[in-house]
Symmetry: C2
Subunit: 270 residues, 2 copies
Amino acid sequence: MAGDMEIICVGNELLIGKTLNTNAQWIAKQATALGIAVKRVTVVADDVNEIAKAVREALSRKPQFIVTTGGLGPTFDDKTLAGIAEALKRMLAVNAEALAMVRKKYEAYAKEKGTAPVELTQARMKMATLPENAKPVPDPVGTAPGVQIDLEHITLIVLPGVPSEMKAIFSDALVPLLKQASRKNRFYDKSIFVEGVMESGLAPIIDRVMRDNVGVYVKSHPKGRESVPHIEIHFSVVADDAGVAGERLRRAVLQLSGLVGEVGGTVVYG
Amino acid sequence: MAGDMEIICVGNELLIGKTLNTNAQWIAKQATALGIAVKRVTVVADDVNEIAKAVREALSRKPQFIVTTGGLGPTFDDKTLAGIAEALKRMLAVNAEALAMVRKKYEAYAKEKGTAPVELTQARMKMATLPENAKPVPDPVGTAPGVQIDLEHITLIVLPGVPSEMKAIFSDALVPLLKQASRKNRFYDKSIFVEGVMESGLAPIIDRVMRDNVGVYVKSHPKGRESVPHIEIHFSVVADDAGVAGERLRRAVLQLSGLVGEVGGTVVYG
């Protein structure tokens, strides 16, 4: 759907719990702030079939954007482009533009270190081997370019897994597309903290505030215990006007605070 | 497949990037250590259809374990059990055993605070409303019980999203099942750090070590830059004997270190 995104993270290190998936959180946060609705995050292994399946499934749900991270490097376990090629039934081939980017990087590294030119080995060529009809996206930080594939109604953006590289390409290549997709819609939110009312006691209050403030999403996050409650209440709204959003949030916060007071709770503003 | 697991995390806070998904990492790490292969992590919104779809899809891939986290509390946005009921085409109904657990919790809270008994409101009853033929699992920390649903070849375990509660139920209810499933298989790993060789230069070395050490997985994690490399090399193996595993890892580390030395790199043991 227009304005929707799915994120696919590729990497065994995520599935063995070695690495915390900060990439998914970072991308989700940036996209959400720009008014994009992230619908799903999928983490799969460094396995061509697993990657291809996850990509095919995401394509079938037709989000406007599919963003992948990880699996773009020079080693055998970097399989994201092979998985995407399989999902799209496209051939993998050396992309001239990507090869020029990779070559330029290695020339710069050799110059930086004052060494002889670095040979473009098979492992290095791999980073320029893309599904056909894909567009390489310059990587201002690392070596392997990102990749953009424009399908009929879906834009597939393939980012590296190294956070500094992922963030740089995201900001350069994806942010303009996301802004265009969401127009002026942006995400606005506010948290307050409630004490003295159990989460189960807040439930009907939240129901009422949600009913009375259409478009404002209210979610409770218990930080203490049910019997000694300290509960974050997170209010959020997507709107194309900061003033309207602020007013909607203010009204919802005010109503909830009043109702909490009526049942003997106290509100701490975060 | 026997010994496989999928993790489904439910919560808008994960999809808007408000919360880092530490639960998925924690579960993946525990399960991996016990010799279980985590095949996929899926994050979906607080939406009955989205949850039901993710559960149905996971069921269709037939992992031995499906673990969900989040969406078990008393508020409107806690929808995991409704989603699972829909996926399994089972009715939701108040479970007598779960109700007794919830009632006991609120009796203890009232006693702890010296207040009158707490009424079992609709929001509180919700935490005892399970898909039919499900088994509540005591929550030693929080209020909402976990849930276990035994299907023909799949065990579905439903955990809360609050980390302390999730961890407690995981350890009590799931660890014995995982140990039984993986028999004596355990995960063993070791990291070393390579400097002075680019990741692209390590690629053929890793290929060779993988070829010569069947069963040992070797993955490079660049921590520096391609031109100033500092690369973690992570070796891992699943085996039913610690001695055998240690010996396999030792041999692979030794071979890789030798090959790195031959191309002028240095190895730092982590």
